[in-house]
Symmetry: C2
Subunit: 84 residues, 2 copies
């Protein structure tokens, strides 16, 4: 059964986020003075097959996040799994 | 009124995605043979103030995406705006 996982990886609160800071600076220099904070993370779409249930897909994706897709020291992740 | 925008920037369909390809290769070498496709994009959280309505916040964020946050030649974007 094919599944699609949508994965969101974000810097943990308090962790330095140089990409977010650079974007904030860019927005301010374009005149967007009302922007107060930018946090930059990753958005991943992963298509997987060869699993027999949404539960198995969820377990597989959680493991991928912990092993490769997110750095648990500085990043949080969350995801949703849907039938593809 | 403070608002939070959650912004998703993704490579357009058909556009080469080297980061997604690298992640796919990494997952396969970790033994996840069932992974068929990975697309890598950006996830941004932008806090903004100084706007008077959700409509104004939405219009502002769309403009930011078009001017700075996404490259319209190779990327799509979507976002949602909520009260912060």
């Amino acid at each position: 059964m094919p599944y699609l996982a949508r994965i969101y990886v974000t810097p943990k609160p308090g962790v330095n986020d140089p990409q977010g800071s650079a974007i904030l600076g860019g927005l301010k220099s374009l005149g967007y003075g009302g922007v107060e904070r930018v946090r930059a993370g990753k958005y991943l779409e992963v298509n997987l097959d060869g699993v027999s249930s949404a539960e198995e897909a969820t377990e597989r994706v959680r493991e991928m996040c912990e092993r490769l897709l997110a750095n648990p020291v500085i990043e949080d992740f969350r995801f949703e799994v849907v039938k593809a």
